[in-house]
């Protein structure tokens, strides 16, 4: 578990080695946020992709910029996010698992060197056609701060904790535990589905003598217990729901109910798969036992294939590439010649070119004075009045926070202030607007640099 934190520490340590304008970003905090985001969205319709990461990290990066007295910059943010994701995926080593050497004592007390290989995060192809970010089991355990337990034990623990939290009225923690329980369900589901998929693909990839039957038998027992446990949590939670009056607590317990229903649904699906698992094995054994299998281990494409081919004579190298070509591109459907289609195409009447001029219908034109305004005349006059009646210089955020105004006025005030700030030379001004260095606007749904508005005639330097 401790070793799994090494890549995160490395990421943090290397913060001081990046370009100076990016040193103020705390990559450990950002990495934890990414992990949080992935865990939060696990198993949902919309899983986390790069866009979701950008959306979640942008505000944090902007706040870190603000604390460092820097203006936010999209390109700098992109580089910072690339670095955090690269650190979690081990981009430096072509996204291979992290490999950490450590020392241990064997059964006889002798020091032995061991190597731990693990991944934290990886991009996975998604059924939607896009890609999503996933956490490895090691990273999930790290995130959940759990001990290295089997998935089954971890789930039992998570659900037991959840039940006790519900009983003690600790709803915030109960929601978190329910999320953890759901995550364990997803991992368990993936484990069983993986065994069945590998069996269908190649029976030899799965140990059906010992490991798989044991896993299936354990899984069936486990699911029966889990379903009972989930039913009992659901009844307890539903009972609490009836008794609770505080809307916030109701919302949280309802969340627990939803999450538990999701777990129960997953376990019921998994139960069906497990019931058919033995048949998958028997059927595939019958089918695959007659197929011929190549007897070589996985090759290295660079040293075992490309290097020897480069050393070959042209005719031999061409022979290899001739064999390989269709394999790189996969199966594709080649079109067949259809005489009927050709005849139909040939017998199609010729499209006569249109000679002379094309009759143009006279358009019914009307005179438009200008573009249709987004804001009505009344609203515009109101906004101009606000500017004209300013008693003293005022910050834009203060102006926006002032008493309730008709809808759209705040938007128009912001637009007019920005227009005044960057008005063309000679254009009439409503007042005078200046940017306040180091201050940020965050009011009424508007975010950006803070502006100071001076009434017409007021001296900017006087304040």
């Amino acid at each position: 578990m401790l070793l799994h934190t090494f890549p995160l520490h490395d990421l943090r340590t290397s913060d001081s080695r990046v370009d100076e304008d990016r040193r103020h970003y705390d990559s450990l905090l950002l990495a934890l946020k990414v992990m949080d985001l992935i865990v939060e969205n696990a198993g949902l319709e919309t899983e986390v992709d790069r866009t979701a990461v950008n959306r979640a990290l942008e505000p944090l990066l902007a706040k870190m910029d603000e604390a460092a007295g820097l203006a936010p910059d999209v390109e700098r943010h992109r580089l910072a996010i690339d670095r955090v994701l690269g650190g979690l995926r081990n981009d430096d080593d072509r996204r291979r698992p992290f490999s950490i050497l450590y020392q241990d004592f064997d059964d006889f007390g002798k020091v032995v060197k061991r190597r731990l290989d693990f991944q934290l995060a990886f991009d996975q192809f998604h059924a939607s056609g896009g890609t999503v970010l996933r956490l490895s089991n090691a990273a999930i355990n790290l995130y959940l701060n759990a001990l290295e337990l089997d998935i089954e034990d971890a789930q039992t623990a998570a659900e037991a904790v959840l039940q006790s939290q519900l009983a003690r009225g600790r709803f915030d923690e109960a929601v978190q535990s329910a999320r953890n329980a759901k995550l364990q369900s997803i991992r368990y589901d993936e484990k069983i589905v993986g065994i069945l998929r590998d069996t269908r693909r190649d029976l030899r990839r799965v140990d059906w003598k010992k490991e798989a039957p044991q896993t299936i038998s354990d899984a069936l027992d486990h699911i029966m217990v889990r379903l009972q446990m989930e039913n009992s949590i659901l009844s307890a939670a539903e009972e609490r729901l009836e008794a609770l009056a505080d809307p916030e607590s109701v919302r949280k317990v309802y969340q627990v109910v939803q999450l538990m229903r999701d777990c129960r649904g997953r376990h019921m699906d998994l139960h069906n798969q497990l019931m058919g698992a033995r048949n998958v094995f028997l059927e595939e054994q019958g089918r695959q036992s007659f197929l011929s299998k190549p007897g070589v281990s996985t090759p290295s494409l660079e040293t075992g294939v490309l290097d020897p081919v480069l050393r070959m004579g042209v005719s031999q190298a061409l022979e290899v590439s001739g064999i390989a070509f269709p394999l790189w591109f996969g199966g594709r459907a080649s079109g067949l010649f259809s005489l009927a289609d050709v005849l139909i195409w040939q017998l199609r009447p010729r499209r006569e070119p249109v000679a002379g001029h094309l009759a143009v219908e006279e358009a019914d034109l009307t005179v438009a004075s200008s573009e249709i305004p987004r804001f009505g005349r009344e609203l515009r006059e109101m906004a101009e009045r606000v500017f004209a009646e300013l008693p003293a210089p005022v910050r834009l955020s203060e102006l926006l926070a002032a008493a309730a105004r008709p809808p759209g006025l705040a938007h128009l005030l912001v637009l007019l202030a920005l227009h005044d700030y960057a008005r063309d030379q000679g254009e009439p001004a409503l007042g005078r607007v200046e940017k306040l260095e180091g201050e940020r606007l965050d009011a009424g749904g508007f975010h950006g640099d803070e502006l100071m508005i001076y009434p017409d005639g007021a001296d900017a330097n006087a304040t």
Binding site: R197, T298, L306, L310, G313, E319, F325, L327
Partner: protein, 246 residues
């Protein structure tokens, strides 16, 4: 579950979907339904695999991301080297196209450990320069080993014994045409053409990463290389090397 009368038709429909690599089962209800049946019903799965076998195709993988088919040797569905470029290509050009495809696969999966990883996990994207650099690095290494050996005899070129690395090394990375454009004969343009062709087949996706153009291998390509291509090509190379030794 026993087979139904229309299962053969449905198996044919599923193979037809699989032969259109750009189709996504998530957006095609029929494709998704047929895949579900393939995954859940053994008899239907067997029927699909048998029909595919008869067509010279191997079902390499199938899940909710789609079905990947690999063409067996001389299958009617195999893409032939002669179809790669329109017009006649010289022996040298065909060799370079073949080496580039090998080098692209080797850049995505350089080591056996990379090939053993789950095909569902994205490999890092690769660039044209990376593939060219890898090939030139290997050529330089082989050249260094041959430094003390005499230059090849002129007759070797005619007999097809002239080594492949010498041909790649002798071709410049970029060749400028009279009107200041890049000639398609430079290795970088050959690699770019190879990538673009793979993109057409749904094997790669062209992307931009900052100011760089990168090519991201798709799930389909990763499955093809991992489950079929790597091993078959390796087997052929091994057989040729053994034949040379004996």
């Amino acid at each position: 579950m026993p087979l139904k009368p229309d299962d053969a038709f449905r198996a044919g429909r599923l193979l037809q979907w699989a032969l259109r690599p750009r189709e996504n089962p998530n957006q095609e209800k029929e494709y998704r339904q047929l895949l579900d049946d393939y995954l859940e019903q053994f008899d239907f799965r067997l029927l699909v695999k048998n029909i595919a076998d008869g067509l010279g195709l191997k079902v390499l993988d199938a899940d909710h991301r789609g079905m990947v088919l690999g063409p067996e040797h001389e299958s009617a569905f195999a893409f032939r080297p002669a179809e790669f470029r329109t017009g006649a290509a010289s022996t040298e050009d065909r060799l370079l196209d073949g080496l580039v495809q090998l080098a692209i696969a080797a850049s995505v999966f350089p080591t056996s450990r990379d090939l053993e990883a789950d095909a569902g996990i994205l490999r890092p994207p690769v660039t044209v320069d990376e593939v060219d650099d890898n090939l030139r690095r290997l050529c330089q290494r082989i050249e260094a080993e041959h430094r003390t050996a005499p230059d090849p005899e002129a007759s070797q070129e005619v007999a097809g014994l002239y080594e492949a690395w010498r041909i790649y090394q002798s071709r410049p990375t970029a060749i400028e045409t009279g009107d200041k454009r890049q000639s398609p004969r430079g290795t970088r343009r050959i690699i770019q053409f190879g990538f673009d062709k793979l993109c057409e087949f749904g094997c790669f996706r062209k992307d931009s990463h900052g100011s760089r153009t990168v090519y991201q291998a798709t799930w389909r390509y990763q499955v093809q290389v991992k489950e079929m291509a790597a091993l078959q090509v390796y087997e052929r190379v091994r057989r040729l090397l053994l034949a040379k030794e004996t």
